[in-house]
Symmetry: C2
DNA sequence: AATCGCCCTCAAACCGCTTTGGATGGCTCA
DNA sequence: TGAGCCATCCAAAGCGGTTTGAGGGCGATT
């Protein structure tokens, strides 16, 4: 069942039927209802391929996922971000197209999307310092929103980010207020922009209280259970080990906890831990009472909002770049307590 | 730069240029090279939207992700499956379109994909018993491959699955061989087909050795850290607690481990644990030495293979449904040891 | 009664590609 | 020499919608 056939059954022209269905004003209200009814009765859905060609719009948003042989950075939070963004797309009749490419082909993937015209815009994930993708997308003229920010980029661009610096600053202050001074930072990889900002927040808080950051207490690694465990284990073996840990993710945090338990240390009593909680649906930080004290910000909400921002930009390309900074909340769990050591 | 313009620059007709680029035989080899060179020089990429309309093929595969308000089942393994499938699609110039919909709209989503024609086929995730989606897709005539199987379905259909029954049977036998008789099963939700099969394997192994399965040692819940912890904690409180745990996933396993450590039990020495390891890239079971003894099967490979199967079916729709059963390997970690209790 | 204007509808062009069904010309072969 | 045959290329008709520009019908105005 296509437009032409539906039109002929109704004794109308395709033009009128098309207009009736798309809510154009120049069609009689009675006619419109007749058309609508017939469309429903015959289960007519316009062919997406034809609409796309005719309108020149892809009605789809692209997400490029570079799959590295070495690091696997996006994965854990990625699923939830996608779920959030996907909800927005569905509500707006957009498709979400994922492109999984080897990371050295990432640039080609963006160029391809532009020239093949299968998306109207893209979301950029996991920005690094001086991220080359921003300049690239700017040049080829593909609308985009960055999830995060890219320090060092001078071009204006649209982004949605969590205030990572502030979150880690507050968390550090909270630990300082509990009397901790030897606070370890178990950070993500520091070529990732968010990791740099978190580190800055941590250092700022320490400096304000006149505490010099200690390199032995600062680490940067992948945010996996294994790496978290390895790092915490190493730091606990120091001659004067930390009394508190500030950890980049729920998953790293589980590794840290394992290392603590191996040493017979109980979180919240013997040692304090604060993690960053992306509020992942499959990795909840406790049921009612949070396990970890945490800086929390839902990455799923971020997905929803970033997608809305992008669709908005596509719908009305007028105004310049949009930006939005979300604040993480500091939630109290059972993993923090006053410092016992003098 | 489009086909017509490229053709006119070359002094050829669009027909010839199209044929030259698509490798048809009725064009002079010299002409073809000239066309190819010009295409590259002008950075010509055919417009996807036009190709799709003209050929009637979407060159895209759909994945419907139902987002439930209650359970969040697919998420953890989903990201890796998608990454695997995505690699296959990229290699074959297919797009992957994800559709995130409230689970009560799942049927509508499949129907929409068919009638809107934006995909050539779909992958069905997380089949349940008597899964209604199989009949539905069969009826509307959209090619599909199921990741897993659906017990109770009589229609023939294509699937790719891990031999879950056998994996859990072997794991149970392994524990029995170590002298364990009180083996706990920490299963996934048992309306999921794979969970039923795992349970069957577990029970079969016990029965063969003349051991009656004990309801108090069998649980079924979401595969989260929280749920794993809760279940293990409950079972450890039994008057005669289990000496071994068979756990449905890496994440549940981490919850189980937490419960064990709370009781001061050390895995591999005081108590044995076997998990199922989907070989998730962000949740590795140890670096070189596996932490957990595990039944392992890469869900990423499964994604790759399922996608290949589907593309193959679309390319040559002749033969009937394809099926493929992968075997999980039993890998030795540090979490199992001989039973100490009499 | 003629004119104007408004409401509604339609024919046809267009989006950019594929594909069918010729057309052209040179070459072989009887 | 002329028929037949390839090899090569092209014009035009789709694919299934949207959109432009024009026109018919009819009540209101003069």
């Amino acid at each position: 069942m296509n437009l032409k056939e539906l039109a002929s059954r109704l004794g109308l022209s395709p033009t009128t039927v098309s207009r009736a269905l798309n809510g154009y004003p120049e069609v009689n209200e009675a006619t419109r209802e007749r058309v609508m009814a017939a469309a429903k009765r015959h289960n007519y859905h316009p062919n997406t391929r034809a609409i796309r060609l005719a309108t020149g719009r892809a009605m789809a948003i692209g997400h490029v996922i570079p799959v590295a042989t070495r690091h696997e950075i996006v994965n854990p939070v990625f699923a939830d971000f996608i779920a959030g963004a996907g909800e927005t797309y569905s509500r707006n009749d957009y498709d979400m197209v994922l492109s999984v490419v080897p990371d050295e082909q990432e640039e080609a993937a963006y160029r391809g999307m532009k020239s093949k015209g299968n998306v109207d815009g893209v979301i950029v994930h996991a920005p690094k310092m001086n991220d080359a993708r921003i300049g690239l997308l700017h040049d080829i003229g593909l609308p985009f929103v960055v999830h995060g920010r890219a320090t060092g980029t001078t071009l204006p661009y649209s982004w949605l980010d969590v205030n990572n610096r502030r979150a880690f600053q507050r968390a550090t202050e909270f630990l300082l207020d509990l009397g901790h001074t030897r606070i370890a930072l178990v950070n993500g990889l520091e070529f990732m922009d968010f990791a740099i900002r978190r580190r800055t927040g941590y250092i700022d808080a320490l400096s304000t209280r006149g505490i010099a950051p200690e390199p032995a207490l600062m680490s940067s690694d992948e945010m996996t259970e294994i790496a978290g465990h390895r790092t915490a284990r190493r730091m606990l073996a120091l001659s004067t080990p930390p009394t508190a840990f500030l950890v980049a993710s729920m998953i790293s945090g589980m590794g840290v906890r394992r290392a603590l338990e191996e040493q017979g240390l109980q979180m919240g009593r013997d040692i304090s831990v604060i993690i960053h909680d992306d509020d992942l649906s499959y990795m909840k930080n406790g049921d009612d009472v949070p396990i970890f004290t945490a800086t929390r910000s839902s990455v799923r909400d971020a997905g929803r909002l970033a997608a809305e921002m992008l669709l908005d930009m596509i719908a009305s390309p007028g105004p310049g770049p949009q930006q939005r900074l979300l604040e993480a909340e500091l939630i109290m769990g059972q993993s923090t307590g006053p410092c016992l050591k003098p």
